[in-house]
Subunit: 241 residues, 2 copies
């Protein structure tokens, strides 16, 4: 069976201005690979309703799952929940169960559940809440779109809440070989092996260390025996003992 596919949408001006370096995409990529879901595409857009709506609608039509990060806090630039509602054409408002979670949380910390904080209980109609064990304000899943916070430790906690509920595929396995030869020397045998093992993917990642060219070769697939077979052939071809 083919593995399910996914896309990620990173939302936030701070990523595109270069102020913040996104780390959520890399985290999600690793978790999905472990879970047997293939991340096919990622997009990063600004805090702009039209851009978010267009991206969400393109991605949810093309992939089994879409994961978003960012824009679900209490400030004026947190527009993700409203944009998701607009993308799906559903209503949005403060929902009782989300409000109860926030009220309980702020009661224990002696903080006022003011109008700004109440924005975090705005949930599009038909969505299911995603648990946030860190700071309580929930994410949500609507259809195949999973909406999560941008703060990395909260994002990671929400991914851990959502992933076990999704059907994965066979875990995506990989084997690596590091050779101190430039890509240009091994491209031919590598290309021939890639053609011979069409069920596997062969990647080639060059590097330079102390002026010497090297290449990391990576074979990926879901069948461990095929990976072993291909890696033995690759090693014999480019790094004979």
């Amino acid at each position: 069976m083919a593995n399910p596919t996914a896309a990620m949408l990173v939302i936030g001006d701070e990523i595109l201005s270069g102020r913040t370096r996104d780390s959520n995409m890399h985290h999600l990529a690793q978790e999905l690979t472990r879970h047997g879901i293939v991340l096919k595409e990622a997009r990063m857009v600004a805090d702009d309703t039209a851009a978010i709506v267009a991206a969400v609608n393109a991605l949810r039509a093309a992939h089994d799952h879409v994961f978003t990060s960012g824009g679900i806090g209490p400030t004026h630039d947190d527009i993700t929940a409203d944009a998701i509602a607009a993308a799906f054409g559903v209503a949005i408002g403060v929902r009782d169960d989300a409000r109860a979670i926030l009220a309980a949380h702020y009661a224990t910390t002696g903080t006022e559940l003011n109008e700004a904080r109440l924005r975090m209980a705005r949930i599009p109609d038909g969505a299911a809440l995603i648990d946030n064990p860190v700071s309580k304000a929930p994410g949500f899943s609507l259809g195949n779109v999973h909406v999560m916070a941008g703060v990395p430790n909260i994002f990671q906690a929400m991914v851990a809440s959502v992933l076990p509920t999704l059907t994965g595929g066979d875990p995506l396995l990989s084997q690596s070989l590091r050779v101190m030869r430039g890509e240009g020397e091994i491209a031919k045998p590598l290309g021939e092996l890639a053609a011979e093992f069409p069920d596997l993917s062969f990647g080639s990642y060059p590097f330079v260390r102390d002026g010497v060219y090297g290449t990391n070769l990576v074979i990926r697939g879901t069948d461990a025996a095929r990976l072993d077979q291909a890696m033995a052939r690759l090693t014999a071809a480019v790094a004979p003992a």
Copy 2:
């Protein structure tokens, strides 16, 4: 005058599998901000011709400039140059000036310019070469699309070659204020100021340190005096002395 806009396209299976963490987008974002070009969107796609073609055509129609990284090396998975040619509907082949650059480079290192390495001289018709002072194999600009290597130090060198040739806008300035208060407490005055200064953008980035909530507030714009004015008001509102 409005600042020019740009998009970035990161190409490579290794980013989406979580094997490698992309650093080129963050570098480009910072360089563009300094140069007065607004990065509006970034996309990451796999080594897949159809995905690259679709992304390039969508992005080049929507923005003044598109910058790509990855997929221009000598191996079978380096398909970016051919995909760009396909996106523009132009022919591609080994070009004499690009071949001469490679031949001169490999002659000095005593390395054979074999068939795989010659692939790096394949340039779409009508493109201008981008200088690569690190490892010589050139990038290229075709129309408003600038095609660069994925290896970070080479990507950075190519960005340094290309950026001075592009017309920028007023540099995008920013001022930051760090307050040890949660977003929920400052959301109201922040939103009011954002409405009052529509020519500036106000961002709010929460963090937690040792269990205490804090927020980094960032105001962005191109007019230094307006930034000063807004920051004075913001400071008085959320962090009075």
